[in-house]
Symmetry: D2
Subunit: 343 residues, 4 copies
């Protein structure tokens, strides 16, 4: 059996922790260097008590020297810091960036939403996009999508691809706190979050907006309009992407249902729920899985599609390892679970 | 000081409990009979341990005999049961129905969304609607709005009234569990709800849809299209109404902001947040208050408005008592707090 | 009606916010200066969106100059900072310290548990302790008890006072996150807290331990042994003090019940639940109230007493204002609610 | 590779769901019949949306006919119903009862705590008890322990076995809602549970009390006194067993630490945390794992030990499959994860 060595930069954070949790279940992976910034020198067990097999591992500083020499390097770093590290890692290393630096194709979008110079564009790690598995096969650099773009894109893609909707997409997406990482900000405190729903990044300013547009343009050939509103909900993990768009004339509920069933019949990590059931985020907790359901609102003439996903799993670490499998020529599903932890 | 006697039918449920909690702070109200269905004969303390001053009160059966003779009777009963009780209470009693039976004006809408015969239409207890305070003054029957219609209507009303948006409204509204009452259904169990977001009533089938349309028609003169998706979020109380609609040509963010500030300048129970702040549901927990903010998404050309409300407070019991005050000629704000319990 | 002016230092924090929320309902209080440290210059609305009537108030720096000239000054400051401020406020001002600096009588305990020099001892703001109302009447300085000591003391006091138990007390107390304030620490993040119970300060090292001992010594005349373990539970507010102690020979369940009923018959802010009902923290959410129940475990020969309290309300701000009422000669219950917000 | 067929009775409940989730990861198990009571005839997907690979399986009625012919049968049934089914399944079938019927050795204890006739005693599925692996090897009937007894026993066992404490044990254990199953009871509703801690079964009446005593008697040779108080905390899963007992004279903190490290050095499913770290329930979410830490409170002279466990995983389904592995002669750790899903 092939053995792949993998290093993880940013191992003390939520993304790094989930990458490690997923890699620990991967039969082909041997976990190598673990690095951190201010936490270098401490053990992983102090930061990730759930990862018992790695509890005694000491975190090293995040440098190219430490990360070099592995088959795969996962970067779970703050935005803007991946390029410098990646430049020092040769093409014999598969570098998988869980940050935003290389996701966008448009330098204009980058400057508008992130500011500063655009670092470039890497192969985009969303295998379910049309033609994307070919792009990822053999890739040496992969940009892992944002969690909202993964959920939003896959939730509305079949309706758009089948020509059932106008390209005028509204996404409202409650999500858990872990998407914000371990940032020490007052609004992320448990005291604030528990029992509370709140909106943020309202009015088209959230950085995932152009990424959703870019994905959907790849699907339909034209840039759609996307209104995206994220909502912070009192849970640790999970996204419930609630997507609506005007139904084109003549479209029926049966058309909608059929489009989803057909589009995702062979996708290992997307489950179209039986008719009448709607997605629940805990059904995919910890799993590399999107649950989706869609229908037509006949009065409002809108297609409504809902997708449930774990932002850290399929939304980040699971999706990253799915792309890694493709890039390395392993079976795409290796080491990935489709089963959530519920209730 | 005027003293009003008030009876509460359905005192063991969440609506009844919140009506009582609010009435206990009302300086003019003396609480009379408390009734229940299967819980008749038990004490209120067994069902509502927070209402200590009423802990020893024994629940009586819900009959017109028990409820008669009070100045005000609040009905917190299952849908379809209020009409029979109300018919036996004379016009010397103000009957305030917290259920749905008398909310809709259209018998067709009733039959489509609720089924069965339409019981009729009572003065609608949303004082902030245009002209509605006049309707409520002196009324002897009041239909308390649904919690989603209150939140959704008040959240988008200024933009619609000011002619800033097309009548094509999308509402996505995370809400807490108490809106479903004390129903013993598996999906309402704590094990299921905690850590989970899920959608229900998707595709225009939720019964609050025609009620939102009816309200907005009153505002703009034409029936809008409303796509409404409620989301069950892991919290006991709270609605975060996330409303969007296409901005008309030339509308600016400043127009949007100005419309809200102007529309709600004199409303005692609506607070337009300072620019840059967005509503949080805990800020209104237990308060008869809606917090609202709105802006323009200039890329998607959508007006996005967000309102936070406590479904049991301003969404039900607080709104009911606000309407009661108007009907009885008391100052509208008597006994009602605008201050939430946070964090 | 008497009007009292009150200033609040630390108005941007959770303690300051709850003091203000409670004062806003007090008929005799006019709210004066609001101060903060790093947040000085910003408006209260940015930090406490629930306190709408004070939303536009600008926070001033926390100095004696700003705080002087009020009838009452509430200090919600970090430990160790109250003494310097208080020293500059004359005896014409009632200073109520919500911090720990002046709670302990023993300088040794202070040094063991807090370190550094003991600032002194102020009248202790727990009116339900024997003789304490006399101590507080006319006081010009009040040390508000810690939240765990209030809950733990009042939960076991009747059994100890009645001579039913040995002075060997075990307290295990799940609590919400707000007791830790708005501290930006990783373990207080929503991502960590939601869905999780964890222990901290285990092994007798929590600073509230000697304060519980001090209170119980006042009750029984001898210093008891107290084993205290706090547990961080996934809620914003609330303490469920679970207290056990060996029952003395011959003690029956009826003795236990009778001791509690008798001890608290006249206490306005303690409710002994009806037999068979056990306390729930939401029943006292936002209320100046402790719910308590006790029984005998006949097999283990232990008295088990459970008390539910809101750490910010009766545990801090409510208790502080109850003591203020006594100190100023107002009726003790003025402006305080006994009714929680549930569900 | 050996292939074992396994049937699950009660597949629509939480215990059945977790058994299936765990079995789906077991390399030697083929899942056979799934049965239910009132849900027979429906698909598993309607009840357990997270178990996608089994979504289309139709639930059969719970009868011996349906369950017969499998190598292993797991029973997740209401108390009192397992005996009749088990009697019809021959000794060629390993029957693993996740209910209480066969846990207690003492018929008196059964009658006191459960009432009715004692069904008997089966080999007790807690492999970490002294000598218990020998008892389980080759067993054909296994009684899976209660979740509180597993957590409580393993949390205090090393201190008791090493002779560090008096046999006077106090257990206070916050737990999540799933331990109560999918019971439709008001206090288990999300509206009630979220944001709330409450106690139940107080005063030595909880049925798990004699089971903890029975386990500890096996450890120390004498029946200890156990005071056990469970607390319902707002989470779906998890137990935080907080156990204290009087330290014997001369016992030091180092003695306590050493006893735990030594006792559990070779246990694959118990992790003694590094000094200074205390258990967190999410670190073991979904894992067959107990995290434990212990220390001495030198003032109160108590040993305090804290254990974190997932009530459905190590507390029920994981523990059941661990015992199954032993009974069938498979490596004990087969198919079981030690890694929790956090945050």
């Amino acid at each position: 059996m092939t053995t792949i060595t993998a290093a993880v930069a940013g191992a003390s954070g939520y993304v790094g922790g989930e990458v490690l949790r997923t890699l620990l279940a991967h039969p082909n992976v041997e976990i190598g260097a673990l690095t951190a910034a201010s936490s270098a020198g401490s053990t992983l067990g102090e930061h990730q008590p759930h990862l018992v097999p790695l509890a005694d591992r000491v975190l090293e500083p995040t440098t190219a020297e430490v990360l070099a020499g592995h088959d795969v390097v996962f970067l779970g770093l703050p935005h803007g810091t991946s390029a410098a590290i990646a430049a020092q890692l040769g093409d014999d290393t598969l570098v998988i960036d869980c940050g935003a630096d290389f996701r966008l194709q448009s330098a204009d979008d980058w400057e508008t939403f992130y500011g500063g110079d655009h670092a470039g564009t890497w192969p985009y790690g969303l295998p379910e996009l049309p033609g994307q598995r070919d792009v990822l096969a053999g890739a040496k650099r992969i940009a892992v999508p944002g969690c909202f773009p993964t959920a939003s894109t896959l939730t509305i893609m079949p309706a758009l691809a089948a020509g059932l909707i106008a390209p005028d997409i509204t996404v409202v997406a409650p999500t858990g706190a872990s998407g914000a990482g371990k940032s020490l900000k007052p609004h992320l405190l448990g005291s604030e979050m528990m029992g509370q729903a709140s909106a943020y990044g309202v009015g088209g300013v959230h950085r995932h907006t152009p990424e959703i547009e870019q994905n959907l343009e790849l699907v339909s050939g034209t840039r759609p309009t996307v209104s995206f509103t994220p909502i912070l909900a009192p849970m640790s993990r999970g996204i419930l992407a609630t997507v609506s768009a005007p139904a084109l004339d003549g479209v029926t509920a049966e058309d909608v249902r059929a489009a989803y069933v057909k589009a995702y019949a062979d996708e290992p990590f997307i489950h179209v729920l039986p008719e009448g059931l709607w997605p629940q985020t805990k059904a995919v907790l910890g799993a590399n899985m999107l649950h989706v359901q869609a229908t037509l609102d006949p009065r409002a003439r809108k297609v409504i599609a809902i997708g449930a996903m774990d932002n850290l799993a399929k939304g980040t670490a699971g999706g990253a390892i799915q792309s890694m499998n493709i890039a390395l020529g392993l079976p795409e599903t290796t080491g990935l679970t489709t089963i959530g932890v519920a209730p």
